[in-house]
Amino acid sequence: MSQYYHSIRIDTDKCDGRMKCLRSCPTQAIRIRDNKAVILEEKCIDCGECITACPNGAIVALTDPFGELSKFKHTVAIPSPALYAQFGRSILPDRILAGLKKLGFDDAYDLALTCGDTSLAIEHFLEEYKGPRPLISNACPSVVRLIQVKYPQLVDHIIPITLPKRLTAREIKEKKSKELGLKLEEIGTFYITPCPVKMIAIRQPSAGEECYLDGAISIADIYGPLLSALENVDPGSYRKGLESICILGIGWAVAGGMHRTLKLENVLDVYGISEIINTFDDIERGKLRNIDLVVAYSCPQGCVGGSLTVENRYISYNKILRLLETLERENIEACGDKREIDDKYRQKQFHMQHKYEPRPIQALDGDLGEAIKKRKKKEKIYESLPKIDCGVCGAPTCMAFAEDVVRGEAQPSDCIFNVPKKFRELTGELSRLLDGFGSIGGEQQREPGNRKKRKKS
């Protein structure tokens, strides 16, 4: 079952089966068994909704501890642009990068720069693209997993352009190994992440690409130390800080940010898994063919809404938006050289080497005839259930429970509404037995029969 790496674990000591996660999971990947939450690995897309929902803090993201740094001779921090949104408006990216160096990284790289380059590459790709539309951005790994699991027929719509953090890590490793005379593996590249799903992108990239990142440190973990480190950084000039921001890349942290800087008219920005599911259903029905690109983020407001961020997501969303507006007003671009990027694009440096592969949820049975039988059984079981999705059985919906029964993972008697039925059956049997002993049971025996009649009328 551990075919897929997941960045989420359940701490069974803390879990007391309160079902909040069960109800929050958009892909119905959680069950409660023996009072503890269990994740169905095949269905989980690592979106982190359950982490936010758990009142006990029993669901944890498996990010790397800060101590990992000591394993490398040279370390580089590559923060998600969402980190820039975690601090007050006057604290600009240059100061945050300086703060990271104070924390112990040998270097800190502005990922927004590569995001900007990638935006241009995406623009190029869309100009030349002739396949089915709309294309779907691969920026959010949860969205990519959602497609692989629930919309396998849409994998060809995912943009095959390498993710900025991977591109950056590769370039840093190559450059630094030359500069410092170190081996690639002696240079540690660490992504500072707003969500757990980025962790899988490192441990088990969706398309089997090599990642070049050595670890991911959660924004929540680094926030406190970084805040104190920032106090010891010379604030420098605000204007200079502003002039170092790449307008094409900084917006990647928020929903609508990437789109804003792409020169495309028909782009949709979608966020929140349930909204994304609605949109993908539409794409599957053949709608939205006039849309060029769908940029989808599983977290509300985009990466700034990730489950490992600290600041209120609306505040951080606003900070990035204001920053974008200021840069637009002041005509500040500070991005990579366009011609250089064009050259790199032509050399296929932005293109992924592997394709995204579907990984659909297992059918009810490998044999179609058997699967049809099981599907009918599932419908029959569902019809006998109360259809109120109470969750007491441990499955999120009655339909999911019916499926669990057919798959042999749950018993019909796990449904609390089946218990009185079972009880009646047993008492009926008991009175029949008693009846066998003579006249004592005679009166009682009529009881179940009468009840049946009453029910019918």
Binding site: P152, Q153, D281, D282, E284, R285, G286, K287, P358, P360, I361, Q362, A363, L364, D365, G366, L368, G369, A371, I372, K373, K374, R375, K376, K378, E403
Partner: protein, 148 residues
């Protein structure tokens, strides 16, 4: 033996009910996913079913979609009570549509409905009587024809 391998579902559709439009194709998709049908086939079925459903919502009073399935084929039949189609040949052409401006504003009625069904079906028969209704039969093979 044969009947236990069959599955059939009937879905009612109300004309003008744009809010529920798309539910039938979604349900059909869920069923096919459960059965482990090849995603490319699911997509063809989903598109054909959606277009059929939309035709009822847009033009008819009411209609009924029946999904019948066995390990070899998927058959979707639709019968509606509606105005019928005057010129079937015309209606089968891409871009031809009798949708109202209001429907077009909502993004419907691009004149792709019937051609789209035809494109995605292995077999598509259509019958229509003006003033009464339209019925059609969509067949999509799960196993390429000729193989057993």
């Amino acid at each position: 033996m044969a009947s236990s391998n069959n599955l059939s579902h009937t879905f009612g559709i109300k004309g003008g009910d744009f809010g529920k439009a798309g539910c039938v194709s979604l349900e059909i998709k869920e069923i096919l996913r459960d059965l482990g049908v090849d995603p490319a086939i699911i997509r063809r079925v989903a598109i054909a079913a959606y277009e059929a459903e939309m035709n009822v919502v847009m033009y008819a009073e009411k209609g009924e979609v029946v999904l019948r399935l066995n390990p070899k084929t998927i058959r979707i039949t639709l019968e509606d009570q509606g105005p019928g189609i005057e010129d079937i040949e015309m209606a089968m052409q891409e871009g031809y549509s009798t949708a109202t401006d209001q429907m077009r504003e909502m993004g419907f009625g691009a004149g792709m409905g019937l051609p789209n069904i035809k494109k995605n079906a292995d077999r598509f028969d259509l019958k229509s009587e003006v003033g009464k209704g339209t019925s059609y039969n969509i067949v999509i093979h799960l196993i390429p024809e000729g193989e057993t």
